[in-house]
């Protein structure tokens, strides 16, 4: 039997925060600074990343996933500095990432897809079958594991995406709009999974559904125009709003209050 723990598992962490950004700026295209001077520290727990459309949530998540390079400022993930011309291999083994619109090979079965991702993430070969099965079971796709991806419904594809993100037991899990396409029952199940993962992982969930944050997140990060507007617990967010602010729930009122306060709610929408 292979040992269940290794020296790497029991070694103490040498970092205070899983994710730490200082003055982070990320340019998208030629001109637009999608993340513009962000200071953020995130530890273990489930962090809900809230913000209006175009706030730069996806760019931030892609940068945290080491897909985009930071233009300026510093970004430390798991104590490793991220930047240009650095080998991210060891760091990337410990990151799980679900993009907003993720592409996949339609002819792969769910198991092949998750197995392929496990191979890409350098999960040790003897652990791959068990890790794949565990990930597929956690998202409730065990009965569909041998079906091709193209036969799955939208919600199932999204769950397969969540399975590939958690297959390497990441220390930092980045989920971009993971609840899109899930039906209400699946959404409830997914919130439970998020809470479970947040116990020992730094989970960052980008969403614009305030109720997801209320139900599943231990911490809220409100983000607008590439800058941090608010960071605190869901209760703090609810406390920021008053009955005069638009919204149907305390959290929504807090959300609109903070966005108005930051003077960043442009347009009639």
């Amino acid at each position: 039997m292979t040992p269940t723990t290794s020296a790497a598992d029991t070694a103490p962490n040498t970092y205070a925060w899983e994710i730490r950004a200082g003055g982070l700026r990320v340019r998208v295209g030629r001109k637009k600074m999608a993340v513009d001077g962000l200071d953020l520290s995130l530890g273990t727990g489930t962090h809900g990343l809230l913000g209006p459309n175009g706030a730069g949530k996806t760019t931030l998540i892609r940068t945290l996933a080491t897909v985009l390079r930071p233009t300026e400022g510093e970004l430390e993930l798991l104590g490793t500095s991220v930047g240009a011309m650095v080998d991210h291999r060891a760091l990337r083994r410990r990151i799980g990432y679900l993009p907003q619109d993720f592409g996949y090979y339609k002819r792969f079965t769910v198991r092949e897809f998750v197995e392929y991702m496990a191979w890409l993430k350098e999960v040790p070969k003897p652990h791959v079958p068990a890790a794949v099965q565990r990930a597929v079971e956690r998202v409730g796709l065990a009965d569909r594991a041998d079906h091709r991806m193209k036969t799955l419904s939208g919600g199932m594809v999204r769950r397969a995406g969540i399975a590939q993100a958690i297959v390497n037991d990441p220390a930092v899990l980045l989920l971009d709009e993971p609840t899109v396409g899930l039906d209400p029952a699946q959404r409830l199940r997914f919130r439970e999974l998020l809470q479970e993962l947040g116990r020992d992982t730094c989970v960052v969930v980008s969403t614009h559904l305030v109720e997801d944050v209320a139900a599943a997140c231990s911490d809220v990060v409100l983000f607008a125009d590439g800058r941090l507007v608010f960071q605190g617990t869901p209760d703090d967010l609810a406390a920021a709003g008053s009955p005069d602010h638009p919204g149907d729930s305390p959290l929504e009122r807090g959300y609109s209050a903070l966005l108005q306060g930051s003077g960043r709610q442009g347009g009639t929408w």
């Binding site: 650095v86 990337r92 993720f102 090979y105 092949e112 890409l120």
Partner: protein, 275 residues
């Protein structure tokens, strides 16, 4: 416990569910049982003799489950491709490789049947051979052509080693085709197209670290088409300057290009992880 295994007495007590056993003994025993098959088989034997209640319970449960287990049919495995294929090729590359093979065959066909004046005094295979691998290389690391690119780009294997694997797969498909073609037509020696192909591939990878692999490969292929293939088919002969580099005695030029490309790839090896 005696030696490396648990004593028979201990296993008997455990099987009976002896409440007087110390908790730490039970933990140690269970940890040992998890990893030791001989002790587990002792335990199985003990349960049958020492704890008939448990054995009876197990039989009842099994009898209850058996009809369900018999009814369950194992889903047929739909694995159609061996695991190693995905490690070298992506499904997104397959159509491009097929196209490359078809183009090679067409060029060979042209070579065999077309009038010699169509491409001037240079064989069509020779004209396109250097850029043939570039299609596959372009598709090997492309955000536009590969649907799973966004997922792949964030993984540990993303970077030069994965790109080299895929490039190798492209060359393994393309080069034998050219080799056979060259041998069949007898118009060119292996070195005449092999070095240029490899040189173009390495240059594409090297440029790719700056502008992206797809852009670099497409750019090189287009440049080659504009500079060599088009003038050759229009005027009937290759421009004089380029005619020189296609001669057999110009192989050192291609060798130098290949070496430069490889050197640049090695120097910029870390740039590939965030392309």
């Amino acid at each position: 416990m005696s030696g490396e295994h648990a004593s028979r007495q201990l296993i008997d007590d455990y099987a009976r569910g002896d409440a007087t056993m110390a908790a730490d003994t039970v933990w140690a025993l269970e940890a040992h049982l998890e990893t030791c098959a001989p002790c587990r088989s002792h335990l199985a034997a003990c349960v049958a003799t020492e704890a008939p209640g448990i054995a009876a319970l197990l039989d009842t449960v099994r009898a209850g489950l058996e009809p369900q287990l018999d009814a369950a049919v194992r889903a047929p495995s739909r694995r159609v491709r061996p695991r190693w294929v995905a490690a070298w090729l992506t499904p997104a590359m397959a159509p491009w490789l097929v196209m490359t093979v078809v183009v090679t065959l067409m060029a060979l066909l042209l070579d065999a049947v077309a009038s010699p004046s169509f491409f001037g005094d240079i064989s069509p295979v020779l004209a396109i051979a250097p850029v043939l691998p570039l299609c596959g290389v372009a598709a090997s690391w492309s955000s536009g052509l590969d649907p799973a690119h966004e997922l792949t780009a964030s993984t540990a294997r993303a970077g030069l080693p994965l790109l080299l694997r895929r490039t190798t797969a492209v060359l393994v498909v393309v080069l034998p085709g050219l080799l056979v073609g060259g041998w069949l037509t007898g118009t060119m020696t292996a070195a005449q197209w092999l070095l240029p192909s490899l040189a173009f591939t390495s240059t594409a990878l090297a440029l790719g670290s700056v502008v992206g692999v797809t852009r670099a490969a497409t750019g090189l292929a287009v440049a080659w088409g504009v500079l060599v293939v088009v003038p050759a088919s229009v005027t009937g002969h290759v421009p004089l300057v380029l005619r020189l580099v296609l001669q057999t005695d110009q192989l050192p030029v291609w060798g130098l290009l290949l070496a430069l490309g490889i050197g640049a790839v090695i120097a910029r090896r870390n740039a590939y992880s965030t392309l």
